[in-house]
């Protein structure tokens, strides 16, 4: 029976406090940006009546989608029985909660009336996928918290599988709900597609795994704990499969649209004539976020550690690009009210929406990321989320010290 | 020592148990200053005005019921004060009607982010003298007629 020693991080070094200070600074900037937006109104941002959702939503949806995917590692262990991933389960759950909390914070702070959050929690229109998402997101945090509890408390370890299955299903519904935010919109040419839901599912798997790899590598480096190449090899392979799946769904989506004459306009806009949208699609989403990581992750001669880290970074950059194209590109393409007509008006009918992101929006977005990271940094200090060593999976250290825990695998 | 302590206690109790004869918070230059009471008894208004407003807003917005009695527009018409130039002062400004209570109770109101803080004095010819049914439809010209506020308000029965 393999035993894993989990240990909190410790040590009063300058690096830790600098990290905390840095994250708090970014959060401070985000709060100031939110206050500035609240006092002056949204006209100080780049969002307008044509592009109503901007960078904050790109960041928020990235965080939410990655949160769902980050739990995947724990699911692989609990649900699919791959014991090799078991030591990573706690970090996976923690990351899922942290990323989701960060994403929700960004969404709430961008609302036109954030002080009415209590209204959002008491008045519900259940035909709205947004209303369902409120339950799905907050419920997710609860479910994962219980899941972590099952993993932490030894006598409940045997429940981690059923709770894990429940969390897995919840995750699927949550991510389907997130994709359906766009998929349910009949009005816009780029949305109104059933493929949005499964596209978001594979996106979550890809982005979540990429974020997990980065957090894992950085955490183990900075706490000077050993991390074996074995684990990274496995995660790297997963990452490769997921990014291939994302590329496949993107291909299916665009091929289908290209077939239908009705959608030629939006495809021409996205793939060819959309200016910044086209650039972000081809260079950031496809090349940086898809093709290069795919090569890195499947190249046999590549150093597994370096290629995994580099590919994860690129995938995350590509993720932002993909969400930018979906969210902003989807809004920028004008509504087709009068097919076959040249349209113009004082309200920007018939022309592509113009959007240039502003500093407050970036402030909010990065604040969400910082909040997620802060939660992780503090949590691994307080509770034993991280195995003391991931050198190799046959480790049998069995000394129990204060903040450590031994779990039977 | 004991007796003086008791006396002090009794004095304090007497002061707080007797219903305080509160000063009126009504602004002297508002129309409300000349009225005996509001649309409901004063104590009821002090205690429940938020419930009346909340109920009224749902009725007005969702069902189109616009009874003047609990209408926010009517409240403002009556309670808005005037300055030296005989112009209306926003009803939610410092020292004006709403803030005299809301400041001390520390309850922030966000009605006036959306709602007008002064009465609209100009009215169109067609609505002066009636609230709902009109006697005949007339095309409203771009420059409306200014009706004396008294005349306009007299058309809305308060009960």
């Amino acid at each position: 029976m393999k035993e894993i020693l989990y240990q909190t991080t410790h040590g009063r070094n300058v690096g830790y406090y600098l990290l905390l200070a840095g994250l708090l600074c970014v959060i401070g900037v985000a709060l100031y940006a939110a206050h500035y937006m609240d006092v002056n109104g949204h006209h100080i941002t780049g969002m307008n009546n044509q592009i109503v959702w901007g960078m904050p939503h790109v960041f928020a949806i990235f965080l939410i989608v990655a949160a769902s995917g980050a739990l995947n590692v724990a699911s692989i262990a609990s649900v699919f029985g791959k014991i090799d991933y078991k030591p990573l389960g706690r970090l996976s759950g923690l990351l899922a909660i942290a990323l989701l909390a960060g994403g929700l914070a960004v969404l709430v702070l961008d609302l036109g009336q954030p002080d009415r959050l209590i209204v959002a929690m008491t008045y519900y229109n259940f035909k709205s996928i947004f209303a369902w998402n409120i339950f799905l997101y907050t419920g997710f945090i609860l479910v994962v918290a219980v899941y972590l509890w099952m993993m932490f408390e030894r006598r409940f370890n045997r429940y981690s599988k059923p709770i894990g299955v429940f969390a897995f299903i919840w995750r699927f519904i949550l991510t389907t709900g997130t994709g359906s935010i766009f998929g349910f919109l009949v009005a816009r040419q780029a949305y109104d597609a059933a493929i949005m839901a499964p596209l978001f599912i594979v996106m979550s798997l890809s982005f979540g795994t990429a974020v997990f790899i980065l957090v894992l590598v950085v955490t183990y480096k900075w706490t000077q704990r050993p991390l074996s190449d074995n684990i990274l090899k496995k995660l790297r392979k997963l990452n490769g499969i997921f990014i291939a799946a994302v590329l496949y769904f993107v291909l299916a989506y665009h091929l289908t649209n290209l077939y239908a004459t009705e959608h030629h306009g939006v495809e021409r806009f996205t793939l060819l004539e959309g200016g910044s949208i086209t650039f972000v699609f081809w260079v950031v989403q496809i090349l940086i976020g898809g093709v290069i990581p795919l090569i890195l992750l499947f190249a046999r001669r590549a150093n597994p550690r370096v290629s995994a880290i580099l590919a994860s970074c690129l995938i995350i950059i590509g993720a932002f690009g993909q969400l930018y194209v979906i969210i902003i590109g989807g809004q920028a393409y004008p509504l087709q009210l009068f097919p076959g007509m040249e349209v113009s008006s004082s309200f920007y009918d018939g022309v592509a929406g113009i959007y240039s992101p502003s500093m407050p929006e970036f402030g909010l977005g990065f604040g969400g990321i910082a909040m997620a990271l802060l939660i992780v940094v503090i949590a691994v200090r307080v509770l034993p989320f991280l195995p003391a060593s991931l050198a190799n999976l046959e480790s049998t250290e069995s000394n129990s010290v204060g903040d450590t825990q031994i779990a039977r695998v | 020592m004991r007796i003086s302590f008791l006396v002090v206690c009794l004095v304090i109790l007497a002061n707080i148990s007797v219903a305080p004869a509160q000063e009126s918070n009504v602004v002297a230059t508002s129309r409300a200053a000349s009225m005996e009471q509001c649309v409901e008894p004063t104590n009821m208004m002090r205690r429940d005005h938020m419930d009346f407003l909340l109920h009224q807003r749902d009725q007005t917005v969702h069902e189109g019921i616009r009874t003047p009695k609990h209408s926010l527009i009517e409240c403002i018409d009556c309670h808005a004060g005037k300055d030296d130039k005989d112009e209306f002062v926003p009803v939610n400004k410092e020292q004006q009607f709403c803030q005299t209570c809301h400041q001390s109770t520390a309850v922030k109101i966000d009605c006036f982010e959306c709602h007008a803080t002064t009465p609209d004095v100009k009215v169109s010819k067609t609505t002066a003298g009636s609230h709902n049914l009109i006697n005949d439809l007339q095309l409203v010209k771009s420059d409306d007629v200014a009706v004396p506020l008294e005349l306009y308000l007299r058309s809305f029965p308060l009960n």
């Binding site: 949204h42 006209h43 307008n48 959002a120 008045y123 709205s128 816009r188 076959g340 040249e342 004082s346 | -």
Partner: protein
């Protein structure tokens, strides 16, 4: 219908609403736009709407609210040009109502689609969902609102068919303005009343909804498009 003859009412006296009565679904308000009468270069309806609701021009056309706008159209194949006013279409099955998480976007019993700004949290999802881009978000602090048309920062708004006027048995500001200008392109009235001018005209003259493929059953219909 708003006609030039005095004594003609929007709806029959028998159905007219008393002061304390709720509106009901016997009436369905609608508008019929005759684009052939919509004059090029005229924006009386837009000006009237802005005036009526206190919509200020902040000089920021990308974020300034527009409840109604004139759309200039040119057929790419035939070259035919015309214009029409576009505002909230007051759909019978509004996508904006479907997607609102709090239920702030709602349809009144008499068919008018409104935003209950008391519970609007400003998420702008309805703006994403509207096929007509009818909604505007208030991007700045507002002052000097009209008492009968409350508007505020951080909430979403759109054409209300001048509901404050309707409850007072008057026609919307745009309709009155168009009539004042002499164009009479906008006919407003009760679609459910088969004797009303709008119902009679809609029954006899060819008209259609914009994006009828979405099956939203809009309250606003257009002739000659």
């Amino acid at each position: 219908m708003l006609a030039l003859a005095p004594g003609v009412r929007l709806i029959d006296l028998a159905m007219a609403k008393g002061e304390g009565d709720a509106i009901n679904d016997l009436v369905r308000w609608g508008m019929l736009v005759d684009t052939s009468k919509c004059a090029e270069g005229c924006d009386a309806c837009v000006t009237a709407c802005n005036e009526e609701h206190g919509i200020e021009d902040f000089g920021r056309p990308e974020t300034d609210a527009q409840w109604i706008r004139k759309v200039e159209l040119k057929d790419k194949q035939t070259g035919r040009e015309y214009s029409l006013p576009l505002m909230c279409q007051h759909c019978d099955d509004p996508p904006c109502v479907d997607v609102c998480p709090t239920g702030a976007s709602f349809k009144r019993a008499d068919g008018i689609v409104l935003v209950d700004k008391h519970i609007c949290i400003g998420c702008r999802y309805c703006m994403m969902a509207c096929p007509y881009k009818a909604r505007s978000f208030v991007h700045e602090n507002l002052t000097n609102q009209k008492s009968y048309s409350p508007r505020g920062k951080g909430t979403v708004e759109s054409c209300t068919f001048c509901v404050h006027r309707l409850d007072d048995d008057r026609a919307p500001a745009c309709v009155e303005a168009c009539d004042t200008e002499g164009h009479h392109a906008l006919v407003f009235g009760d679609l459910n009343d088969e004797n009303s001018e709008i119902a009679q005209r809609a029954r006899t003259v060819s008209n259609r909804q914009i994006r009828e493929d979405l099956n939203l059953n809009t309250g606003v219909r257009y002739e000659s498009i």
